[in-house]
């Protein structure tokens, strides 16, 4: 790797051969050999079907896979050397792969994609997750079309989810982003998204890549950067997103990628957040689909236990983060029997905002602050599951909306805490 560059000479040579493109699709991977082939085939089919005239490239940035991931991606190329039977294309479709430095950090992966997009002058870009086995060619169209046709700068997805899927998003990331930045982006930390070359260049220019928060949650950073930069946003209904088999549910990692970034972003954006008041809807494209309601087995009891144990075990830490009143209320609800347990929206929002203010003041290690939110989130998730057990799709949506409004109403409280008068 040449000093001062994130691109290897070999990758640069490949980019040189690809040349300027209209559409770039990035696929960050790390040992995704089992699923990436299916994903890349769907991406390719989408590009050929919906953008046959555009100059396109699929770029895989790999964190050091040892399962043949890179070779699988490269095999998706269509050229005069690698003709694919039954595939009728106007032009060459490159599918190239490179390794990036920085382990499996999503920030490094995206940094490489953004750098490639910049060099190739890609006006329209998308990122897809290598484990999105339910990704269909139509997703590529739904993500990219608003960028290509309507000059939208960032298209985030709306998935068809089970009502209990994505609880962190519906109970924390979405409502808090919406309250702070006044844009109703349902997936601020998207797995699949599309963006314009303008936004890519803007994001690339910001000196964020070395920041730990951006390394962990570059997707959230990009969303917030787009909002704060006044870029045009849109959301696109995609469809059901299959969860990868045996995907580990790493809550701490998820919190770092989302809430950690949100907290971190406030450092620079509190002034603008203060000025903004009511949230605005983001244009949403495609056929809306309701949440699915089929029965789902979730170990609620365990969530409750983890909340109770967390509040007890982390009390010294929580004391340094939370106000006395909030902590007292948490201790109180931790004593309530499981069947009667309820973590109210108001208490939850107050807890989260106090965490954000403490993050700002760095009362303890910021990473510890983010980690300490985990048991509280579990308590909120337990409440949400119980509250919506028999709820219809509309009721679930109404409850999420209520929570969002609570986050919005309580925003002055955050600002008050932030400024240290409390």
């Amino acid at each position: 790797m040449p000093e001062g560059s994130i691109l290897t000479d070999d990758f640069l040579r490949e980019l040189m051969n690809v040349g300027e493109v209209d559409i770039l699709v990035g696929v960050p991977t790390f040992n995704d050999g089992k699923t990436v082939g299916q994903v890349v085939q769907a991406v390719r089919a989408g590009l050929l079907k919906y953008f046959p005239r555009q100059r396109t490239v699929i770029i895989n940035v790999d964190g050091g896979s040892r399962d043949g991931t890179q070779e699988i991606v490269r095999a998706a190329s269509i050229s005069d050397l690698r003709h694919v039977s039954n595939v009728n294309t106007l032009r060459t479709l490159h599918s190239i792969s490179t390794r990036y430095e920085g382990g499996t950090s999503p920030g490094s992966a995206l940094h490489t994609v953004f750098a490639a997009a910049d060099l190739l002058r890609a006006g329209n870009c998308a990122i897809v997750s290598p484990d999105s086995t339910s990704l269909e060619p139509e997703w590529i169209e739904r993500l990219l079309r608003p960028v290509v046709r309507d000059n939208v700068d960032l298209v985030t997805p709306i998935y068809r989810r089970h009502k209990f899927d994505g609880l962190l998003v519906s109970n924390l990331v979405y409502p808090m982003t919406r309250a702070l930045y006044c844009k109703r982006v349902r997936e601020p930390h998207p797995s699949e998204f599309a963006f314009s070359g303008r936004l890519a260049a803007h994001f690339l220019e910001q000196d964020l890549w070395e920041q730990e928060a951006c390394q962990m949650g570059a997707e959230t950073c990009l969303t917030l950067s787009a909002i704060n930069g006044g870029f045009r946003l849109a959301q696109s209904f995609l469809g059901s997103r299959a969860r990868p088999e045996q995907a580990p549910s790493d809550l701490i990692r998820a919190l770092r990628q989302t809430v950690g970034v949100l907290f971190w972003s406030l450092e620079a954006n509190v002034p603008s957040c203060s000025a903004a008041t009511e949230s605005e809807a983001v244009p949403t494209i495609g056929a809306e689909h309701e949440v699915t309601l089929e029965p789902l087995r979730i170990n609620r009891k365990r969530l409750h236990q983890m909340f109770v144990h967390g509040v007890a075990e982390l009390e010294p830490i929580l004391r340094s983060i939370l106000s006395e009143g909030t902590l007292a209320e948490l201790r109180q609800i931790a004593t309530v029997p499981e069947d009667d347990f309820r973590y109210s929206d108001e208490l939850w929002v107050r807890s989260v905002y106090e965490f954000a203010a403490s993050y700002h003041k760095a009362v303890i290690s910021r990473d510890h602050i983010v980690q300490a939110l985990a048991p509280l989130y579990r308590g909120k998730a337990y409440t949400f599951l119980g509250q919506n057990r028999d709820a219809s799709a509309n009721q679930v949506e109404a409850n999420v909306e209520q929570l969002c409004l609570t986050f919005e109403r309580a925003k002055p409280y955050l600002l008050e805490m932030w400024n240290g008068r409390k």
Partner: protein, 552 residues
């Protein structure tokens, strides 16, 4: 026996492989008698120009007596010259003058059909019992050969037309005023050979045979490329070789390469055939800035016998035909090259080379560079050597058949007639009009397109490898670069084309030519010796290189 070509230097039987052909309609080139229509005496007067251009063969479009309802492809008399163009004596004078300059002459021959004004058809339709009745294809119903496509989809609803005189339908693959001859009738075959013999005796060097896939009809087929059709063509070739060796047959068969291949037979059918599918893909590759359409069609092009040759062209008198492309490709071509729907006709685009390429000199040169360096014999359409424009306001394909622009004077130097009496209006617009764009003005400058065309023809003719050599594609990773090696014996030429509007770097795998130096064929400059590493070239937008490889 054939008239000996005493004055011709090119005696070798495979002369057509080394030829650079110029396609012209006598009507369009030069009017010697001031009647507003080009003629053979006028064409003969301009042979010096063609000799100077460097071409060594002319393909003449139909010049026979005709009602001219299809630009002469509706022949009413095969044994004469349309009076507007002169007479047989004028033709003979022209032919001899061409031969004296080392220029061979290929004439158009429409075998498939005649005009409905031809005496043969007039007799045939006169009654069902007329002896010439079965010289054409008649039917009581119009439901025979239903699997046959209609070619002129814009004007014809059926391949059958009702004849009110004899009260039967007659078969026509093209316009309804062009009844198809019946090649199942041996008398017709003999008669048509007699026609060809007449012109061969006159001294013509070959025929461009029009619409050859359609000579015969068979129920249950699409009536194209039938084995029986090939039998007829082979019979013609055998008689040609026996009685007139050295004369050539050029097939007009707008077909896919695999379907075209049988027209070469085992070297015993056509000498040459147009490579129709390649042409639109050259335009497509240029617009896409991607070599894939070009290399793919050439990969699908079967090998042909040693004594056969492809004929390559960029534009001709017809529309830029899009029959041999997929629907997706056709849509793309229309959108990119014929946004204005008036530019479209049938399944094609009625435009000339320069307007198609936005009058971009770099692209015009690149396309000509590819034309001249790919395996085949190049054909230049008259006027394209100076970048003439087209007039889409004229009907049918007449917009690409306007008078040759010789100078900026009266009627562009084409004719002394009143402008109103010209067979076609001249181009007058500020870009392509004769006052801005003509031979005389381009002759003045070494950097004009005309001067450049002379140079590239000269360089092409200096290297027999272009006409006779093998081709091998290099497939560099940069897909915007089309690179190939042409080889003939010890002669090796490397051709590298940048299809992109931007500068490109390309690495070529030339290991097997290690030790050779490259000599650029236009400037004769030396480029670095080929070593172990990939050979790096940087190329400007739409630039191309021809390198001769030399081991010194």
């Amino acid at each position: 026996m054939a008239t000996p070509h005493a004055s011709l230097k090119l005696q070798e039987s495979l002369w057509y492989k080394d030829a650079v052909i110029y396609q012209v309609h006598v009507r369009t080139f030069y009017d010697s008698n001031g009647d507003g229509i080009g003629d053979f005496r006028g064409l003969a007067q301009k042979l010096d120009y063609l000799q100077e251009l460097g071409i060594n063969a002319i393909w003449l479009m139909p010049f026979f007596p005709s009602p001219l309802r299809d630009d002469g492809y509706d022949i009413a008399d095969y044994f004469s010259v349309h009076p507007s163009y002169g007479n047989l004596e004028d033709f003979k004078l022209f032919l001899d003058a061409a031969h004296q300059r080392g220029i061979r002459v290929i004439i158009e021959m429409v075998l498939n059909h005649t005009s409905d004004q031809h005496p043969w058809f007039q007799e045939s339709r006169s009654s069902r019992t007329n002896p010439k009745r079965d010289w054409y294809v008649w039917s009581e119903t119009d439901d025979r050969y239903r699997d046959t496509r209609i070619i002129f989809v814009d004007t014809e609803m059926s391949n059958w037309a009702w004849d009110p005189i004899s009260k039967e339908y007659y078969w026509h693959r093209f316009f309804s005023h062009q009844p198809d001859l019946n090649y199942d009738n041996p008398v017709v075959r003999e008669q048509m050979w007699g026609v060809m013999k007449f012109w061969l005796e006159m001294g013509v060097d070959g025929f461009r045979l029009d619409a050859v896939p359609y000579l015969l009809e068979r129920e249950g087929t699409n009536c194209e490329n039938l084995p029986e059709t090939h039998d007829v063509l082979k019979e013609i070739r055998a008689r040609l070789d026996k009685e007139y060796p050295g004369r050539v047959l050029l097939a007009e068969a707008n077909q896919w390469p695999a379907d075209l291949r049988p027209y070469f037979g085992n070297g015993d059918e056509f000498h040459m055939a147009f490579h129709f599918p390649l042409m639109p893909r050259m335009f497509m590759g240029l617009k896409l800035e991607d070599r894939k359409p070009i290399t793919e069609i050439l990969q699908q092009t079967p090998a042909i016998p040693e004594n056969c040759q492809w004929s390559l062209f960029l534009r001709n008198h017809d529309e830029l035909t899009l029959e041999m492309v997929t629907d997706m490709e056709r849509d793309y071509m229309y959108d990119e090259y014929a946004k204005d729907k008036s530019m479209r006709i049938n399944l094609g685009i009625r435009r000339r080379l320069a307007p198609l390429l936005d009058n971009d000199r770099r692209r015009i040169e690149l396309m000509n560079g590819m034309l001249m360096s790919m395996p085949g014999t190049p054909i230049i359409y008259y006027g394209d050597e100076i970048g003439m424009g087209d007039n889409v306001n004229l009907g049918d394909r007449n917009g690409v058949r306007t008078p040759m622009q010789w100078d900026g004077g009266w009627n562009g130097g084409f004719s002394a007639a009143d402008p109103e009496s010209l067979y076609s209006p001249l181009m007058l617009n500020p870009v392509y009009g004769f006052q801005a764009l003509n031979v005389q003005s381009q002759k003045r400058f070494d950097h004009s397109l005309l001067s450049w065309m002379k140079r590239i023809i000269r360089v092409r003719k200096s290297a027999p490898v272009f006409g006779r050599g093998t081709i091998e594609f290099l497939y560099p990773a940069n897909h915007r670069v089309l690179a190939y090696v042409r080889q003939l014996g010890k002669e090796t030429v490397l051709v590298v084309n940048n299809l992109s509007s931007a500068a490109q770097a390309v690495e070529l795998d030339l290991k097997r030519f290690k030790g050779n130096i490259l000599i650029e064929m236009f400037g004769k400059n030396i480029f670095p010796r080929i070593g172990d590493l990939p050979y790096l070239l940087t190329m400007g937008p739409y630039q191309f290189y021809w390198f001769r490889l030399r081991k010194i």
